[in-house]
Symmetry: C2
Subunit: 241 residues, 2 copies
Protein backbone atom coordinates (compact mmCIF):
# COMPACT_ATOMS: atom_id res chain seq x y z
CA UNK A 1 0.00 0.00 0.00
CA UNK A 2 1.27 3.43 -0.91
CA UNK A 3 1.76 6.20 1.63
CA UNK A 4 -1.23 8.30 0.50
CA UNK A 5 -3.48 5.23 0.62
CA UNK A 6 -2.38 4.50 4.19
CA UNK A 7 -3.05 8.11 5.17
CA UNK A 8 -6.47 7.94 3.49
CA UNK A 9 -7.29 4.90 5.62
CA UNK A 10 -6.06 6.72 8.72
CA UNK A 11 -8.31 9.71 7.96
CA UNK A 12 -11.23 7.33 7.39
CA UNK A 13 -10.52 5.79 10.79
CA UNK A 14 -10.33 9.29 12.32
CA UNK A 15 -13.80 10.08 10.90
CA UNK A 16 -15.23 6.86 12.33
CA UNK A 17 -13.63 7.21 15.73
CA UNK A 18 -14.80 10.80 16.10
CA UNK A 19 -18.24 9.76 14.77
CA UNK A 20 -18.23 12.68 12.35
CA UNK A 21 -21.53 13.22 10.52
CA UNK A 22 -22.47 14.51 7.07
CA UNK A 23 -21.40 18.14 6.77
CA UNK A 24 -18.86 17.99 9.62
CA UNK A 25 -15.69 19.79 8.61
CA UNK A 26 -12.28 18.14 8.65
CA UNK A 27 -9.25 20.02 9.99
CA UNK A 28 -7.55 22.31 7.44
CA UNK A 29 -4.79 20.93 5.19
CA UNK A 30 -1.97 22.36 7.33
CA UNK A 31 -3.32 20.64 10.43
CA UNK A 32 -3.75 17.31 8.61
CA UNK A 33 -0.18 17.58 7.26
CA UNK A 34 1.16 18.09 10.77
CA UNK A 35 -1.09 15.49 12.35
CA UNK A 36 -0.13 12.75 9.87
CA UNK A 37 3.38 14.07 9.33
CA UNK A 38 3.19 14.08 5.51
CA UNK A 39 3.72 16.51 2.64
CA UNK A 40 1.00 18.63 1.06
CA UNK A 41 1.04 16.56 -2.13
CA UNK A 42 0.52 13.32 -0.17
CA UNK A 43 -2.36 14.69 1.89
CA UNK A 44 -3.95 16.08 -1.30
CA UNK A 45 -3.76 12.66 -2.95
CA UNK A 46 -5.23 11.03 0.16
CA UNK A 47 -8.16 13.46 0.18
CA UNK A 48 -8.76 12.95 -3.56
CA UNK A 49 -8.94 9.19 -2.96
CA UNK A 50 -11.38 9.70 -0.08
CA UNK A 51 -13.52 11.93 -2.31
CA UNK A 52 -13.55 9.28 -5.05
CA UNK A 53 -14.61 6.71 -2.48
CA UNK A 54 -17.46 8.94 -1.31
CA UNK A 55 -16.06 9.46 2.21
CA UNK A 56 -15.62 13.23 1.97
CA UNK A 57 -16.50 16.10 -0.36
CA UNK A 58 -14.41 19.18 -0.99
CA UNK A 59 -15.89 22.65 -1.34
CA UNK A 60 -13.55 25.04 -3.08
CA UNK A 61 -12.45 27.83 -0.79
CA UNK A 62 -14.40 26.39 2.08
CA UNK A 63 -12.88 23.11 3.21
CA UNK A 64 -13.27 19.36 3.32
CA UNK A 65 -16.46 17.86 4.69
CA UNK A 66 -17.66 14.42 5.71
CA UNK A 67 -20.33 12.71 3.62
CA UNK A 68 -23.50 11.29 5.19
CA UNK A 69 -23.30 8.06 7.05
CA UNK A 70 -24.78 5.31 4.98
CA UNK A 71 -28.11 3.86 5.99
CA UNK A 72 -27.56 0.83 8.18
CA UNK A 73 -27.71 -2.61 6.58
CA UNK A 74 -27.28 -1.38 3.02
CA UNK A 75 -24.71 -3.15 0.86
CA UNK A 76 -22.32 -1.01 -1.15
CA UNK A 77 -22.51 -1.82 -4.86
CA UNK A 78 -19.11 -0.27 -5.47
CA UNK A 79 -17.19 -1.63 -2.52
CA UNK A 80 -14.35 -4.02 -3.10
CA UNK A 81 -15.22 -6.08 -0.08
CA UNK A 82 -18.82 -6.44 -1.16
CA UNK A 83 -21.15 -7.19 1.70
CA UNK A 84 -18.36 -8.14 4.05
CA UNK A 85 -17.37 -4.52 4.57
CA UNK A 86 -20.84 -2.97 4.32
CA UNK A 87 -22.33 -5.47 6.72
CA UNK A 88 -19.52 -5.58 9.21
CA UNK A 89 -21.95 -5.27 12.12
CA UNK A 90 -23.66 -8.44 10.95
CA UNK A 91 -22.54 -12.05 11.00
CA UNK A 92 -22.07 -13.09 7.37
CA UNK A 93 -21.46 -16.81 6.76
CA UNK A 94 -21.67 -19.04 3.72
CA UNK A 95 -22.23 -22.62 2.64
CA UNK A 96 -20.43 -24.12 -0.35
CA UNK A 97 -22.79 -25.94 -2.72
CA UNK A 98 -20.41 -26.63 -5.61
CA UNK A 99 -16.76 -26.24 -6.54
CA UNK A 100 -15.82 -27.87 -9.82
CA UNK A 101 -13.94 -27.52 -13.08
CA UNK A 102 -16.28 -27.49 -16.06
CA UNK A 103 -17.06 -25.90 -19.41
CA UNK A 104 -18.52 -22.40 -19.12
CA UNK A 105 -22.20 -21.82 -19.87
CA UNK A 106 -22.63 -19.90 -23.16
CA UNK A 107 -23.48 -16.82 -21.07
CA UNK A 108 -20.33 -17.20 -18.93
CA UNK A 109 -18.14 -17.79 -22.00
CA UNK A 110 -19.45 -14.64 -23.61
CA UNK A 111 -19.04 -12.49 -20.51
CA UNK A 112 -15.55 -13.87 -19.86
CA UNK A 113 -14.64 -13.44 -23.52
CA UNK A 114 -13.34 -17.02 -23.61
CA UNK A 115 -13.91 -20.00 -25.93
CA UNK A 116 -16.93 -22.13 -25.02
CA UNK A 117 -14.75 -25.25 -24.94
CA UNK A 118 -12.38 -23.67 -22.40
CA UNK A 119 -12.51 -24.46 -18.69
CA UNK A 120 -13.77 -22.52 -15.70
CA UNK A 121 -13.86 -23.03 -11.97
CA UNK A 122 -17.52 -23.00 -11.06
CA UNK A 123 -18.30 -21.98 -7.47
CA UNK A 124 -21.80 -21.94 -6.03
CA UNK A 125 -22.46 -20.67 -2.53
CA UNK A 126 -25.29 -19.58 -0.27
CA UNK A 127 -24.61 -16.59 1.94
CA UNK A 128 -26.29 -15.97 5.26
CA UNK A 129 -26.62 -12.80 7.29
CA UNK A 130 -27.25 -13.30 11.00
CA UNK A 131 -28.44 -16.79 10.14
CA UNK A 132 -30.94 -15.60 7.50
CA UNK A 133 -30.39 -16.41 3.83
CA UNK A 134 -28.99 -13.37 2.01
CA UNK A 135 -28.23 -14.67 -1.49
CA UNK A 136 -27.23 -17.45 -3.86
CA UNK A 137 -23.93 -16.78 -5.60
CA UNK A 138 -22.62 -18.47 -8.74
CA UNK A 139 -19.15 -17.57 -10.02
CA UNK A 140 -17.22 -18.62 -13.11
CA UNK A 141 -13.44 -18.13 -12.97
CA UNK A 142 -11.51 -18.45 -16.22
CA UNK A 143 -9.20 -21.36 -15.45
CA UNK A 144 -6.52 -20.15 -17.86
CA UNK A 145 -6.13 -17.12 -15.52
CA UNK A 146 -7.06 -18.71 -12.18
CA UNK A 147 -5.45 -22.15 -12.60
CA UNK A 148 -6.27 -23.51 -9.14
CA UNK A 149 -8.93 -23.19 -6.45
CA UNK A 150 -9.79 -25.48 -3.55
CA UNK A 151 -12.25 -25.61 -0.67
CA UNK A 152 -9.92 -23.83 1.70
CA UNK A 153 -9.34 -20.92 -0.66
CA UNK A 154 -13.04 -20.67 -1.42
CA UNK A 155 -13.95 -20.69 2.27
CA UNK A 156 -11.56 -17.80 2.88
CA UNK A 157 -11.42 -14.90 0.41
CA UNK A 158 -11.03 -15.97 -3.23
CA UNK A 159 -10.11 -12.41 -4.15
CA UNK A 160 -7.34 -12.21 -1.55
CA UNK A 161 -5.93 -15.41 -3.01
CA UNK A 162 -6.11 -14.11 -6.57
CA UNK A 163 -4.43 -10.84 -5.67
CA UNK A 164 -1.92 -12.02 -3.09
CA UNK A 165 -1.49 -15.69 -3.94
CA UNK A 166 -1.44 -15.34 -7.71
CA UNK A 167 -0.14 -11.75 -7.79
CA UNK A 168 -2.82 -10.60 -10.21
CA UNK A 169 -4.05 -7.02 -10.23
CA UNK A 170 -7.72 -6.28 -10.15
CA UNK A 171 -9.02 -3.57 -12.48
CA UNK A 172 -12.47 -2.29 -13.40
CA UNK A 173 -15.79 -4.12 -13.11
CA UNK A 174 -19.04 -4.06 -15.03
CA UNK A 175 -22.17 -4.56 -12.93
CA UNK A 176 -25.62 -5.42 -14.26
CA UNK A 177 -28.62 -5.32 -12.02
CA UNK A 178 -32.26 -6.29 -12.49
CA UNK A 179 -35.31 -7.54 -10.65
CA UNK A 180 -37.37 -10.59 -11.46
CA UNK A 181 -39.29 -13.49 -9.97
CA UNK A 182 -37.70 -16.47 -8.22
CA UNK A 183 -37.89 -19.83 -9.92
CA UNK A 184 -38.59 -22.94 -7.91
CA UNK A 185 -34.97 -23.83 -7.17
CA UNK A 186 -34.01 -20.29 -6.15
CA UNK A 187 -37.11 -20.00 -3.97
CA UNK A 188 -36.20 -23.18 -2.15
CA UNK A 189 -32.65 -22.00 -1.43
CA UNK A 190 -33.84 -18.59 -0.25
CA UNK A 191 -36.79 -19.91 1.75
CA UNK A 192 -39.29 -17.87 -0.26
CA UNK A 193 -42.19 -18.79 -2.56
CA UNK A 194 -41.81 -19.32 -6.30
CA UNK A 195 -42.58 -16.02 -8.02
CA UNK A 196 -41.40 -13.88 -5.10
CA UNK A 197 -39.30 -10.84 -6.10
CA UNK A 198 -35.58 -11.30 -6.62
CA UNK A 199 -32.79 -8.86 -7.15
CA UNK A 200 -29.97 -10.11 -9.37
CA UNK A 201 -26.51 -8.62 -9.71
CA UNK A 202 -24.19 -9.86 -12.45
CA UNK A 203 -20.60 -8.69 -12.31
CA UNK A 204 -17.73 -9.06 -14.73
CA UNK A 205 -14.43 -8.55 -12.93
CA UNK A 206 -11.38 -7.56 -15.01
CA UNK A 207 -7.66 -7.50 -14.40
CA UNK A 208 -5.90 -4.16 -14.83
CA UNK A 209 -5.00 -5.26 -18.38
CA UNK A 210 -8.71 -5.42 -19.20
CA UNK A 211 -9.00 -9.20 -19.26
CA UNK A 212 -12.18 -10.55 -17.60
CA UNK A 213 -11.35 -13.26 -15.03
CA UNK A 214 -14.57 -13.73 -13.05
CA UNK A 215 -18.24 -13.64 -14.03
CA UNK A 216 -20.56 -13.83 -11.07
CA UNK A 217 -24.34 -13.96 -10.72
CA UNK A 218 -25.85 -13.23 -7.33
CA UNK A 219 -29.55 -13.69 -6.59
CA UNK A 220 -30.60 -11.79 -3.48
CA UNK A 221 -33.39 -12.39 -0.99
CA UNK A 222 -35.34 -9.17 -1.51
CA UNK A 223 -36.13 -8.76 2.18
CA UNK A 224 -32.52 -9.11 3.33
CA UNK A 225 -30.81 -6.98 0.69
CA UNK A 226 -30.67 -3.25 0.12
CA UNK A 227 -27.97 -1.45 -1.81
CA UNK A 228 -26.39 1.95 -1.86
CA UNK A 229 -24.06 3.84 -4.14
CA UNK A 230 -22.22 7.00 -3.22
CA UNK A 231 -21.89 8.77 -6.56
CA UNK A 232 -19.38 11.52 -7.13
CA UNK A 233 -19.77 14.94 -8.61
CA UNK A 234 -17.00 14.43 -11.16
CA UNK A 235 -19.48 12.30 -13.05
CA UNK A 236 -21.43 15.48 -13.70
CA UNK A 237 -18.49 17.82 -14.28
CA UNK A 238 -19.49 18.41 -17.86
CA UNK A 239 -22.84 19.74 -16.84
CA UNK A 240 -21.90 21.79 -13.84
CA UNK A 241 -18.91 23.78 -14.96
CA UNK B 1 -17.48 23.50 -20.46
CA UNK B 2 -13.74 23.39 -20.00
CA UNK B 3 -11.34 22.50 -22.81
CA UNK B 4 -10.43 19.04 -21.48
CA UNK B 5 -14.11 18.20 -21.04
CA UNK B 6 -14.83 19.16 -24.64
CA UNK B 7 -11.91 17.02 -25.84
CA UNK B 8 -13.16 14.12 -23.70
CA UNK B 9 -16.54 14.39 -25.44
CA UNK B 10 -14.80 14.49 -28.81
CA UNK B 11 -12.83 11.33 -28.02
CA UNK B 12 -16.06 9.65 -26.85
CA UNK B 13 -17.64 10.61 -30.19
CA UNK B 14 -14.57 9.25 -32.01
CA UNK B 15 -14.99 5.91 -30.20
CA UNK B 16 -18.66 5.74 -31.15
CA UNK B 17 -18.17 6.76 -34.76
CA UNK B 18 -15.38 4.23 -35.25
CA UNK B 19 -17.47 1.61 -33.40
CA UNK B 20 -14.50 0.69 -31.25
CA UNK B 21 -15.03 -2.36 -29.04
CA UNK B 22 -13.77 -3.41 -25.63
CA UNK B 23 -10.00 -3.85 -25.78
CA UNK B 24 -9.52 -1.74 -28.91
CA UNK B 25 -6.54 0.54 -28.49
CA UNK B 26 -6.74 4.30 -28.84
CA UNK B 27 -4.03 6.19 -30.74
CA UNK B 28 -0.96 7.09 -28.65
CA UNK B 29 -0.85 10.36 -26.69
CA UNK B 30 1.25 12.15 -29.29
CA UNK B 31 -1.25 11.34 -32.03
CA UNK B 32 -4.21 12.42 -29.90
CA UNK B 33 -2.41 15.70 -29.08
CA UNK B 34 -1.89 16.40 -32.77
CA UNK B 35 -5.34 15.23 -33.79
CA UNK B 36 -7.17 17.42 -31.25
CA UNK B 37 -4.53 20.15 -31.29
CA UNK B 38 -4.10 20.33 -27.51
CA UNK B 39 -1.31 20.12 -24.95
CA UNK B 40 -0.22 16.93 -23.20
CA UNK B 41 -1.67 18.09 -19.88
CA UNK B 42 -5.08 18.70 -21.48
CA UNK B 43 -5.20 15.34 -23.23
CA UNK B 44 -4.14 13.63 -19.99
CA UNK B 45 -6.97 15.32 -18.09
CA UNK B 46 -9.41 14.33 -20.84
CA UNK B 47 -8.33 10.69 -20.65
CA UNK B 48 -8.55 10.69 -16.86
CA UNK B 49 -12.13 11.96 -17.09
CA UNK B 50 -12.98 9.26 -19.64
CA UNK B 51 -11.48 6.64 -17.35
CA UNK B 52 -13.55 7.90 -14.41
CA UNK B 53 -16.64 7.72 -16.58
CA UNK B 54 -15.86 4.13 -17.55
CA UNK B 55 -15.30 4.88 -21.26
CA UNK B 56 -11.64 3.81 -21.39
CA UNK B 57 -9.07 2.08 -19.22
CA UNK B 58 -5.35 2.81 -19.13
CA UNK B 59 -2.71 0.12 -18.87
CA UNK B 60 0.60 1.46 -17.66
CA UNK B 61 3.28 1.17 -20.30
CA UNK B 62 0.85 -0.31 -22.77
CA UNK B 63 -1.72 2.28 -23.81
CA UNK B 64 -5.31 3.41 -23.57
CA UNK B 65 -8.09 0.96 -24.36
CA UNK B 66 -11.82 1.13 -24.91
CA UNK B 67 -14.16 -0.42 -22.34
CA UNK B 68 -16.86 -2.89 -23.36
CA UNK B 69 -19.99 -1.58 -24.95
CA UNK B 70 -22.80 -1.63 -22.47
CA UNK B 71 -25.54 -4.18 -22.90
CA UNK B 72 -28.37 -2.65 -24.87
CA UNK B 73 -31.37 -1.31 -22.97
CA UNK B 74 -29.60 -1.09 -19.61
CA UNK B 75 -29.95 2.15 -17.67
CA UNK B 76 -26.81 3.66 -16.19
CA UNK B 77 -27.14 4.10 -12.45
CA UNK B 78 -24.34 6.65 -12.40
CA UNK B 79 -25.21 8.70 -15.45
CA UNK B 80 -26.21 12.30 -15.04
CA UNK B 81 -28.82 12.10 -17.73
CA UNK B 82 -30.41 9.05 -16.16
CA UNK B 83 -32.35 6.94 -18.60
CA UNK B 84 -32.46 9.66 -21.24
CA UNK B 85 -28.85 9.09 -22.18
CA UNK B 86 -28.74 5.31 -21.61
CA UNK B 87 -31.92 4.75 -23.55
CA UNK B 88 -31.23 7.14 -26.39
CA UNK B 89 -32.27 4.54 -28.96
CA UNK B 90 -35.69 4.36 -27.33
CA UNK B 91 -38.52 6.82 -27.22
CA UNK B 92 -38.84 7.97 -23.60
CA UNK B 93 -41.91 10.06 -22.75
CA UNK B 94 -43.66 11.01 -19.53
CA UNK B 95 -46.99 12.04 -18.09
CA UNK B 96 -47.28 14.54 -15.25
CA UNK B 97 -49.54 13.30 -12.45
CA UNK B 98 -48.88 15.99 -9.84
CA UNK B 99 -46.99 19.27 -9.43
CA UNK B 100 -47.70 21.05 -6.17
CA UNK B 101 -46.23 22.90 -3.23
CA UNK B 102 -46.72 21.01 0.01
CA UNK B 103 -45.15 19.95 3.28
CA UNK B 104 -42.55 17.20 2.88
CA UNK B 105 -43.34 13.69 4.06
CA UNK B 106 -41.32 12.81 7.21
CA UNK B 107 -39.12 10.63 4.99
CA UNK B 108 -38.51 13.45 2.50
CA UNK B 109 -37.82 15.96 5.28
CA UNK B 110 -35.24 13.64 6.78
CA UNK B 111 -33.51 12.90 3.48
CA UNK B 112 -33.50 16.58 2.50
CA UNK B 113 -32.29 17.53 5.97
CA UNK B 114 -35.02 20.17 6.21
CA UNK B 115 -37.70 21.05 8.81
CA UNK B 116 -40.93 19.06 8.48
CA UNK B 117 -42.95 22.29 8.38
CA UNK B 118 -40.91 23.61 5.43
CA UNK B 119 -42.15 23.46 1.85
CA UNK B 120 -41.27 21.30 -1.10
CA UNK B 121 -42.25 21.10 -4.73
CA UNK B 122 -43.75 17.65 -5.16
CA UNK B 123 -43.58 16.23 -8.68
CA UNK B 124 -45.09 12.89 -9.64
CA UNK B 125 -44.65 11.48 -13.12
CA UNK B 126 -45.04 8.27 -15.07
CA UNK B 127 -42.32 7.53 -17.61
CA UNK B 128 -42.83 5.45 -20.73
CA UNK B 129 -40.31 3.71 -22.94
CA UNK B 130 -41.50 3.02 -26.50
CA UNK B 131 -45.03 3.41 -25.20
CA UNK B 132 -44.57 0.87 -22.36
CA UNK B 133 -44.63 2.00 -18.75
CA UNK B 134 -41.08 2.24 -17.40
CA UNK B 135 -41.53 3.74 -13.91
CA UNK B 136 -43.36 5.95 -11.46
CA UNK B 137 -41.26 8.85 -10.22
CA UNK B 138 -41.89 11.00 -7.16
CA UNK B 139 -39.56 13.91 -6.41
CA UNK B 140 -39.37 16.35 -3.54
CA UNK B 141 -37.47 19.59 -4.22
CA UNK B 142 -36.60 21.77 -1.23
CA UNK B 143 -38.46 25.01 -2.04
CA UNK B 144 -36.01 27.15 -0.12
CA UNK B 145 -33.40 26.11 -2.72
CA UNK B 146 -35.65 25.61 -5.77
CA UNK B 147 -38.11 28.47 -5.29
CA UNK B 148 -40.10 27.96 -8.49
CA UNK B 149 -41.19 25.18 -10.83
CA UNK B 150 -44.00 25.06 -13.38
CA UNK B 151 -45.44 22.60 -15.88
CA UNK B 152 -43.24 23.82 -18.68
CA UNK B 153 -40.03 23.40 -16.68
CA UNK B 154 -41.14 19.98 -15.46
CA UNK B 155 -41.98 18.83 -19.00
CA UNK B 156 -38.50 19.82 -20.15
CA UNK B 157 -35.48 19.01 -17.95
CA UNK B 158 -35.85 20.09 -14.32
CA UNK B 159 -32.11 19.60 -13.85
CA UNK B 160 -31.20 21.81 -16.79
CA UNK B 161 -33.40 24.52 -15.28
CA UNK B 162 -31.80 24.14 -11.84
CA UNK B 163 -28.27 24.30 -13.22
CA UNK B 164 -28.71 26.83 -16.00
CA UNK B 165 -31.80 28.76 -14.93
CA UNK B 166 -30.97 29.00 -11.22
CA UNK B 167 -27.20 28.76 -11.62
CA UNK B 168 -26.85 26.06 -8.97
CA UNK B 169 -24.05 23.51 -9.09
CA UNK B 170 -24.80 19.86 -8.77
CA UNK B 171 -22.53 17.80 -6.53
CA UNK B 172 -22.57 14.21 -5.26
CA UNK B 173 -25.57 11.89 -4.96
CA UNK B 174 -26.53 9.05 -2.64
CA UNK B 175 -28.45 6.21 -4.26
CA UNK B 176 -30.40 3.54 -2.41
CA UNK B 177 -31.76 0.55 -4.25
CA UNK B 178 -34.00 -2.34 -3.23
CA UNK B 179 -36.56 -4.79 -4.56
CA UNK B 180 -40.05 -5.38 -3.25
CA UNK B 181 -43.64 -6.11 -4.21
CA UNK B 182 -45.96 -3.61 -5.88
CA UNK B 183 -48.89 -2.29 -3.89
CA UNK B 184 -52.28 -1.86 -5.53
CA UNK B 185 -51.78 1.74 -6.65
CA UNK B 186 -48.30 1.12 -8.09
CA UNK B 187 -49.50 -2.02 -9.86
CA UNK B 188 -52.30 -0.07 -11.51
CA UNK B 189 -49.93 2.63 -12.77
CA UNK B 190 -47.43 0.09 -14.09
CA UNK B 191 -50.04 -2.26 -15.55
CA UNK B 192 -48.89 -5.18 -13.41
CA UNK B 193 -50.52 -7.24 -10.70
CA UNK B 194 -50.40 -6.39 -7.00
CA UNK B 195 -47.47 -8.26 -5.48
CA UNK B 196 -45.42 -8.27 -8.69
CA UNK B 197 -41.70 -7.50 -8.24
CA UNK B 198 -40.62 -3.87 -8.17
CA UNK B 199 -37.23 -2.26 -8.22
CA UNK B 200 -37.00 1.00 -6.29
CA UNK B 201 -34.25 3.59 -6.53
CA UNK B 202 -34.14 6.43 -4.03
CA UNK B 203 -31.70 9.23 -4.73
CA UNK B 204 -30.62 12.22 -2.68
CA UNK B 205 -29.10 14.88 -4.93
CA UNK B 206 -26.77 17.44 -3.36
CA UNK B 207 -25.35 20.77 -4.45
CA UNK B 208 -21.56 21.09 -4.55
CA UNK B 209 -21.75 22.65 -1.07
CA UNK B 210 -23.23 19.38 0.24
CA UNK B 211 -26.79 20.63 0.67
CA UNK B 212 -29.46 18.13 -0.46
CA UNK B 213 -31.94 19.77 -2.86
CA UNK B 214 -33.88 16.82 -4.35
CA UNK B 215 -35.09 13.53 -2.91
CA UNK B 216 -36.56 11.22 -5.52
CA UNK B 217 -38.18 7.79 -5.36
CA UNK B 218 -38.53 5.84 -8.56
CA UNK B 219 -40.47 2.57 -8.79
CA UNK B 220 -39.55 0.60 -11.89
CA UNK B 221 -41.50 -1.92 -13.94
CA UNK B 222 -39.26 -4.95 -13.45
CA UNK B 223 -39.66 -6.14 -17.02
CA UNK B 224 -38.71 -2.79 -18.60
CA UNK B 225 -35.78 -1.88 -16.37
CA UNK B 226 -32.25 -3.19 -16.17
CA UNK B 227 -29.32 -1.27 -14.75
CA UNK B 228 -25.59 -1.18 -15.20
CA UNK B 229 -22.66 0.38 -13.41
CA UNK B 230 -19.19 0.71 -14.84
CA UNK B 231 -17.01 0.62 -11.75
CA UNK B 232 -13.46 1.87 -11.75
CA UNK B 233 -10.31 0.29 -10.52
CA UNK B 234 -9.35 3.24 -8.32
CA UNK B 235 -12.00 1.96 -5.95
CA UNK B 236 -9.76 -1.03 -5.33
CA UNK B 237 -6.41 0.75 -5.36
CA UNK B 238 -5.81 -0.07 -1.74
CA UNK B 239 -6.07 -3.76 -2.37
CA UNK B 240 -4.23 -4.06 -5.66
CA UNK B 241 -1.07 -1.99 -5.15
Amino acid sequence: MLKYQQIAMDIEKYIEEHQLQQGDKLPVLQTLMTQFNVSKSTITKSLDLLEKKGIVFQVRGSGIFVRRNKRKGYISLLSNQGFKESLEDFNVTSKLLALEVRKPTPEAAQNLNMPSDGEVYYVKRIRYIDGKTLCIEESFYNKSIIPYLNKEIVSESIFDYIMEGLGLKRGFSDLYLYAGMLNEEEAEYLGLFTGAPKLCVETIFHLTNGQPFDFSKVTYHYEQSQFFIQANSYLFEQETT
